[in-house]
Symmetry: C2
Subunit: 199 residues, 2 copies
DNA sequence: ATCTCACTGTACACCGGTGTGCAATACTGG
DNA sequence: CCAGTATTGCACACCGGTGTACAGTGAGAT
């Protein structure tokens, strides 16, 4: 199956490079134009349009990537059968690099492509709500908010912290994990114990 | 000093109406243009420019309004001398309507006017950080994050919940208060007790 | 050696929003 | 009634970003 001629390979390489670079550039400035993305990818603007007929196609592809990676993580951690709070910790730990890479989606969710992105993010929201629901049913998560909204806000916070440029390293991940646990209703001692295990 | 002729009064009225309407329209769609704002205010686009020479002026004025109202609230609740967590509850209760009105600033903070808004919001951030710091020093708030960042994230959550259109009524305010208390490290029982007093 | 095709370079049309100019109009105070 | 002025209803220029057209170039495929 690996019968890819060097031509199509290099074509896929530029395509991937454009995607990667687009994530960086848009991460810096969500309003960056196709021109900026193109030059950052070492390519001319016209070429970007050869791979992605419209700006929306680019964003959509990026979002699909994110959804794929996130659902993968969510499914894996959900399969472990651990308690909901421990699962959450594992989830954030593994989600963190992804969330940081795709932090731009948080900003892009508003305005223009918001609807498209929101639609694609549906599956993630569902899996997330399921996890929170499970936590609420087993009394490890608070019930002051409906599961769906609580999940949204909690991982919204994770993204927000991933976005806010604080002294990075594992610090941000730790902060995001503890904060989200707290707002999920996990007692502080328990939260610290949970993240203490795997810093 | 109340020597304002009916002419300048009606002029101020349109000016204020434009501001009020702009808050609504931008609240619905942060990318709304001057045209939309104008027609929503029952006025022609050109007139808006007579009152606000540029779009930035409009946004700036809006932000200044918000800052004024917010610092007023913050100063008042801070003067009560109550515990930091009780103060926070009072703060959110009184901030809630304001936060909901000015929710658009959350979105506007990114992109284009972000810098200007951020600058104007400085005083609010300081007062907020002071309050959180006080809570941390008196051991009622958690210390897993520096006061400044913790305050940002906490009231970011309040704005986020104010933004998310959930079955409104006092429900949203209650949810926002409890959630922010939780993430500030206040135990769930205490949090519920605090908001139980003044629902 | 020639062909193919990804990529280049430059030009263009289009769009929506911003901000300005100016004559015409309506409304208010003297 | 007249003067002043807030508002109107166009006009326009400008800008930046999007998406397209098309001829040209260079490197890998045959």
């Amino acid at each position: 199956m690996s019968t890819e001629s060097s031509r199509v390979r290099s074509m896929n390489e530029t395509r991937d490079r454009i995607l990667d670079v687009a994530l960086d550039v848009l991460g810096e400035n969500p309003d960056a134009g196709m021109g900026e993305i193109a030059s950052a990818a070492g390519v001319v603007r016209r070429t970007v349009y050869d791979h992605f007929p419209s700006r929306l196609d680019l964003v959509r592809t990026l979002t699909e990537r994110a959804v794929t990676e996130m659902t993968a993580v969510l499914n894996e951690v959900n399969a472990s059968g651990a308690e909901a709070d421990a699962t959450w910790v594992e989830f954030i730990a593994r989600l963190w690099p992804v969330a940081h890479r795709y932090r731009v989606l948080l900003a892009l969710r508003r305005g223009e492509y918001g609807e498209a992105i929101h639609g694609l993010l549906g599956p993630v929201d569902e899996l997330l709500a399921d996890l929170v629901k499970r936590g609420q049913d087993t009394e490890v998560f608070a019930q002051h908010l409906p599961a769906g909204l609580l999940g949204q806000v909690a991982y919204g916070v994770v993204f927000a912290i991933a976005d806010s440029d604080l002294p990075n390293g594992t610090f941000g991940a730790r902060a995001a994990t503890i904060t989200s646990l707290l707002m999920l209703g996990v007692p502080e001692t328990r939260a610290i114990a949970l993240v203490g295990d795997q810093p």
